[in-house]
Symmetry: C2
Subunit: 413 residues, 2 copies
């Protein structure tokens, strides 16, 4: 079973919208053990869409189409699909009734344009859309399974999960698919990959992908296996091997983020935390508070961009700044101490560095950062040098700062 | 002249990587007045790539290919393109010398695998890659212009701008392309669009796209016109009309962001600013400090997540919090006052609200926010109610807060 995804819309071709729908569908199908062989994007154009359908229907057996199901005249998908597969559009009273109810429940009146949304090709099965007005449909023609879904991401995602995947399962999937992602911070992609030279021979059938991002590297393991092939123990051993190879750099798995992991550790230790930021400008506080429930441990943050706010508010000794500079080990520790004193939190985290692109010097280049952390068992500073890019540096400084908290609190469990 | 973009890589099909390269290229071509008719994504597979090239070479006259130019065995692009267009690969000493110099300048030794990167199809023109090892190339075959570029975003983007677009201009573009984007905050897409019902008739040939994002709506105007067609005055009038229709909600154009606009206004007024954040957790400070040079006006930020930090640090009267609550007009003003007092900044901005998804009540629902702003001429609070989504709310709260500063400082110019 191989699949093609067809994304429809001018906004995808002219770059106004990034095609995240295709990535979502690709991920869902891959996880379900179905290979995606092509993704084709085409505009709101009858002839070009026909051409696209012609190629797809010859080369794959599953086609997932999104977009162009709205009620306006540039929404051509349904008509072109119906014509191409020679199944005339038929009015479906059941869809019409649902549409009426949908509009009524929102206190809106239904436009005559919406009537056309109650039509689907003859022989097609309705795929219900609980979040919007455009229903999808499923058609089996010449052994090709065709799914047509709206392009609104939320509606499409919901329908993939409630209609398309169950339907594909019913049709018969090739097997089960194992998937595990492990997240690291603090090790380069090439150093990390040195541990995996013999991986392919050790764990036949397990695919390993290394995915670098702004602050670290994630490792994604996947395996297609039938229920009876005995792939499960091999996959489990491969995951275990990868966990060990990642070692201290491993901070989480699958849906974990460094901020959620740190949040859980703070809850576990019953610690509150306060953050003193300089060059990260508030990003650490922002990331920590992206987690719902962070008010249980996030006490306060102070962004001290100027020297005298460090002195005045955080009581960093003026002599320390004068002697060692604002970007120094001693200042980082004094900031962490100061924010604990100011807030009464159990733990204090501080960052001082040079995000760039200006402000660097020979001894203190752009990308230099000191990260301080203090709690009743720890008192530590780390130094890193990253890149020239301001936005990337802020991401890395904040990621490494959160990771320092993670390593300190994991050690003391 | 119509173009097709071909993106190569398994990671794009299985959804691990979102295809932002194609959006970038689509945008660049559209801005240059070239229509993109298809974007096709295919994996690292010889037969499927051949199939893709076959369709593309029949239906368009410009093909831009990215990805699969690395030195390893799954990088098949060059070989397949050379085979398909029947131009054998030829070793190019000039590329090899550049590769040697590239590795030497980075203190790395060159692997024998890299030698193959010095080969390009016979008759092709080298497209130099100053940022990486994989050169691109340009080939003209059967009146189809083929550009092959690496998949690393930074390298591809640079080469699009330094090689591909100049080359296309040389080949002969269909005309000039006018483009202007206007950014708004504070008005809904549907209210904004009411002003544009007669736009099409008023400004023939000018296309208007409304692009909603997390905090506002941008309006993008574009027009294809030949040098002599006299499109320029029509386009200018259309931009002027749109500026007037957007009115007070218009905060910037093209590359402007609300944080860069606010930064420039602060510089102009010679004001320093301090920020007291609650539910935004540091995001306002983060956004302000994303602008290089923000240390000239950003004094300090305080993230007061708990009530007593508001009381202790910002001197918000305990009676105000007890009587009106932490999320109230009075608390917002007291926070702005407090952060000016604490920092000595010229202007104080404060945000207090409920980001959600929990913490709401009947009188104070999730999504409620108060934004306070004080300087020597202004003393104001605004109230908004947004959505249920925590991350979206943080984006909107911070965007509307920055926009309040913008409106206040623009008024006093």
């Amino acid at each position: 079973m191989i699949a093609e995804i067809i994304s429809i819309g001018d906004e995808l071709l002219n770059g106004i919208t990034v095609n995240t729908n295709a990535s979502f569908i690709g991920q869902q199908l891959t996880c379900a053990g179905i290979e995606v062989s092509w993704i084709e994007t085409v505009g709101d154009d009858v002839d070009r869409l026909r051409d696209t359908l012609m190629h797809a229907s010859k080369r794959v057996n599953i086609i997932i189409i999104t977009g162009g199901l709205g009620p306006t005249h540039d929404d051509i998908t349904k008509k072109v699909v119906a014509d191409f597969f020679k199944q005339p559009l038929v009015f479906q009273p059941v869809i019409y009734q649902r549409l009426e109810a949908f509009f009524k429940s929102r206190g809106r009146t239904m436009s005559p344009l919406n009537r056309s949304q109650a039509e689907i090709p003859r022989g097609a099965e309705i795929l219900e859309n609980r979040l919007g007005t455009a229903p999808g449909f499923y058609l089996l023609k010449n052994r090709v399974h065709i799914f047509v879904l709206p392009g609104v991401p939320g509606e499409m995602q919901r329908m993939m999960q409630t209609s398309v995947l169950p339907k594909l399962k019913h049709i018969g999937l090739p097997g089960i698919h194992f998937l595990k992602t492990l997240h690291t911070i603090g090790i380069s992609e090439s150093s990390l990959n040195e541990a995996f030279i013999t991986f392919k021979d050790m764990f036949p059938g397990v695919r390993l992908a290394s995915l670098p991002n702004a602050q670290g590297v994630s490792l994604r393991l996947s395996m297609n296996a039938s229920e009876k092939s005995g792939g499960k123990p091999i996959f489990k051993r491969a995951v275990e091997f990868t966990r060990e190879a990642a070692g201290q750099y491993l901070y989480g798995e699958d849906e974990d983020t460094i901020e959620s992991v740190v949040g859980n550790l703070l809850l576990k230790h019953n610690y509150s935390i306060a953050v003193a930021e300089s060059c990260t400008g508030g990003l650490i506080g922002h990331r920590l508070t992206n987690i719902s429930g962070s008010s249980q441990y996030f006490q306060c943050g102070v962004v001290t961009y100027s020297d005298w706010v460090k002195i005045d508010l955080l009581k960093v000794p003026e002599s320390v700044i004068r002697k060692y500079g604002a970007v120094s080990k001693k200042t980082a520790i004094a900031m962490a101490k100061g924010v604990i004193h100011l807030s009464g939190a159990d733990a204090g985290l501080s960052v001082t560095g040079i995000a760039g692109p200006t402000g660097g010097s020979k001894g203190k280049p752009v990308g230099l950062v000191y990260i301080g952390y203090i709690d009743k068992y720890h008192h530590t500073v780390e130094k890193f040098i990253f890149s020239q890019d301001r936005i990337l540096n802020k991401m890395r400084f904040s990621g490494y700062a959160l990771d320092l908290v993670r390593r300190m609190l994991q050690d003391s469990t």
